[in-house]
Symmetry: C2
Subunit: 508 residues, 2 copies
């Protein structure tokens, strides 16, 4: 808990209702691993008890009485909680024809916003005659075991979550007498990791998985710590060499200005701070987050990295470095959040931070503190960011202070593997698509080459985080994105055809 | 808890030190799912703190500080216990040559007796230049988490056990810098199930598995309840039609005699009871167990089923049915346990039984009461046993009374699969040998046909439970057994060759 730059694993973005004030609070400089939500939907991973979102027609809400702990037989493990899921049978061909089931595995936020933003399964259900099932992840949204939220996270793990999904799906298949209906699971980001892992651990439940932007290799001793930020750097450098140079130089410039008399006020003026001043560390983490977010969601048609760089580069020759940077940040807030006006960024005391973390963005922060210990770090010479090597000890201290139990940084690779993945999986497993946009910094921890004939990497050079599963737009989607989606559907269709042939052969 | 015949899942065989008294106590009529131990080694699954067995030279004993609960982050889950394992590097080719590692996964008893009885990996380590690792299963032998034994079984599950194995093996590979040394896991019976499941869940740790006599399909809704006893019947019928008829008729005869005045004394006299009498229910469960045990371990060169039938059939024409049956039972005790003299069989009150179960054969009984809920039942018309359909409710009542938590009979098939196994696995997974002797009643719940090119069933018509992994005997092993073992070694060798070729290709 030495400096802000060590808390690399949390973002709690609180958007003011006053659009004329940019009120942004960052604990962290890295966008969380969640699906990008549609404009107008707030990203909240604190529990939302009642949804205010309009669920599309055809989706029926259900609750499953889920077992608290699948792997443990202590009496309290038998406690149940209500897990929310949606079913839509509008397009389903029915059990008699063994028609398929498209399942979305919920990620680290409440389900309704995901139902509205991860629409690839919905858009393609009609042509596949597929039933749709969307399942909420435990400890998010309405699917929270009883007890004080944030105080009983012991049962909050990915292994429990995918076991939940297995139970719900076995239950759904029984209810619809759909024993031979093949299930394809879809997931984005952390949910994409769950989708890949679900196919690996529960091949008897899911025939195949589409894991979009799933950094399943981003664990200790599997992927290098620089993976994420080196792609952020690459994105900016490719957009504009001078932009990259400006950003790279700006960190020292901030430090220099901060040391001047009235340095914080000068920074505050340059960055249009509402309070008239700004702390250099807060400013730097705000900027770091903004660059990372822009790179992660560098989606067409806007390509915000390019445009952020245009804002930075576009100032007249001779403009001060920090004024350029401020122009970039201004563009960022306007583009992603529709915000303009003065910047209301503040720091927190340790205790404020801790209590906010538990109350607010608790879910993902807990997961980052238990098993999703991604070693984000910056060590490369040519990074556009200042050096900030990953510090496991600091993370462990932070997490233990907060949750009173230590992380298990090795567990994900013990349980799910990842090391030498090609060697291990080239003759094991099948039917997983790993899709990645190589512009997405998380692709650095993803599977970006084929592991075998049926463990396939579908990548696009310009794609961003989770892009393929977000709503299609016939007018603005570039051809490569349309092709990526068609490739994925073609592969899935192949799995299903093979499955039906096997089914006839085996059950005849 | 209505009748003895419902307690189908426990045997606590207490062998008297006085060889002239057969002191056998049966709670149950089915041999437990354990490896047959060598003559002279007692089958005990209660904790043995200090081993009195002579461990072969070259094996070094180690302890691993094992995590109590891998899937749960409650503070008590971080507790550790000492898990015992042995390593033998005598034959190992070393890390530089990526020489392989043969691992025996401990089953439901203490490790030392398994090290002495499951010798297939040891016998073949020299020609494979293999390191040997034998690991004890949690809650058996010395590897027991703290707390009063039998009172804290909440952490006692197969998923935790195979996670333990994964941690130990990752640790061993790190210690020997043996990153690319392929691991082959071996297991017998319940341990065979663990071996198959280990390859399925941890393909990044084990390259392949030999699962001997592993009834991974013997779960509710996967395999029919009659599977076990129908093979016992078949074995006896094939050995001798008249023997089968005699046994089949004997149950009614016991009931008839029992109803006579002094019926229990007549039975006691016929079966040479030390006390002079015998309860008919106790006698019937003793016999049921003996037939099942003889069939399960109907191994060459003795073929005890054949010889038990010879004892039954061999009595002079006109001999009373029960005198024939008594001759069979006498042979059984002499053959398997070297026991002769009067029979000291007694019944128990419910409370005696419950306390003995927890104290004594607790481990496997708990597993049978939590997730290993095999639905053993007898419903077939032509069974040589009386009808005794599986009664899940009775089992649940028994288990809840004993352990205060209900079983989860569906969990094993939810977590490990099994239903439609060929359809599911024909294009998923690889490198598992399912070996079965078809004379073994547990083969009824085993995989006895190939699922794919690398998920292979190696069966022998005359083989018994776990036979292939028990000590080879050059003098007495029949040719089919030698061939079975060679086939298994040939297959394993093929996996390893392919792996080395992949390794060169991928790491070059």
């Amino acid at each position: 808990m030495k400096s802000l730059s060590l808390w690399l694993f949390l973002i709690f973005l609180y958007l003011s209702t006053n659009k004329n004030v940019i009120s942004a609070t960052h604990y962290n400089e890295i966008p969380r691993l969640s699906p990008m939500l549609q404009k107008g939907i707030l990203a909240k991973d604190n529990p939302i008890k009642e949804s205010s979102l309009n669920i599309p027609q055809g989706f029926q809400k259900y609750y499953y009485e889920q077992t608290l702990d699948h792997f443990n037989y202590n009496p309290e493990s038998y406690t149940t909680f209500r897990q929310k899921y949606y079913i839509n049978t509008t397009f389903w061909g029915g059990a008699k024809s063994n028609s398929q089931i498209f399942v979305y595995l919920g990620a680290e936020l409440e389900l309704d916003s995901q139902l509205l933003s991860v629409t690839f399964p919905i858009e393609n259900a009609p042509r596949f005659n597929a039933m749709l099932v969307y399942i909420e992840h435990r400890y998010y949204g309405e699917s929270i075991p009883s007890g004080s939220y944030g105080m009983n996270f012991g049962y909050f793990s990915s292994a429990q979550a995918i076991a939940d999904f297995a139970e719900v799906l076995i239950h759904v298949k029984e209810n619809f007498s759909a024993r031979y209906s093949p299930i394809i699971v879809f997931g984005v980001s952390y949910g994409g990791m769950l989708a890949a892992w679900f196919r690996l651990k529960y091949p008897h439940v899911a025939l195949g998985a589409l894991a979009s932007s799933a950094p399943i290799l981003y664990f200790n001793n599997v992927t290098a710590q620089d993976a994420y930020y080196s792609i952020v750097t690459k994105d900016f450098k490719e957009a504009s060499e001078s932009c990259y140079q400006t950003i790279r130089t700006s960190w020292g410039e901030i430090d220099k200005v901060a040391l001047e008399p009235n340095g914080r006020a000068i920074l505050g003026q340059k960055f249009n701070s509402c309070s008239g001043f700004i702390y250099p560390d807060v400013l730097k983490s705000t900027l770091k987050y903004a660059y990372a977010y822009a790179a992660q969601y560098n989606a067409p048609p806007g390509y915000p990295v390019t445009r952020m760089c245009e804002a930075i580069d576009g100032k007249p020759k001779g403009t001060d470095i920090l004024d350029r940077i401020a122009a970039g940040l201004k563009f960022y807030y306007a583009y992603f959040y529709g915000l303009q006006g003065c910047l209301n960024v503040k720091g927190f005391t340790d205790s404020e931070r801790l209590s906010s973390v538990v109350r607010g963005a608790g879910g993902w922060n807990w997961q980052m503190c238990s098993e999703m210990v991604f070693p984000f770090g910056i060590t490369e010479e040519n990074s556009m960011f200042p050096k900030a090597p990953f510090n496991l000890t600091a993370r462990e201290e932070y997490c233990e202070n907060l949750y009173h139990v230590p992380p298990r940084p090795d567990w994900a690779s013990t349980y799910y593997g990842g090391k030498d993945i090609k060697l291990v999986l080239r003759r094991f497993a099948s039917n997983i698509i790993f899709s990645n946009g190589l512009s997405d910094p998380y692709s650095g921890g993803g599977v970006v080459e084929d592991l075998s004939d049926s463990l396939l990497a579908v990548t696009t050079t310009k794609g961003s985080h989770g892009l393929d599963l977000y709503p299609a737009n016939k007018k603005s989607d570039p051809e490569w994105l349309v092709m990526q989606r068609n490739t994925e559907l073609h592969i899935i269709n192949g799995w299903i055809k093979t499955y039906y042939a096997d089914l006839i052969e085996i059950t005849k």
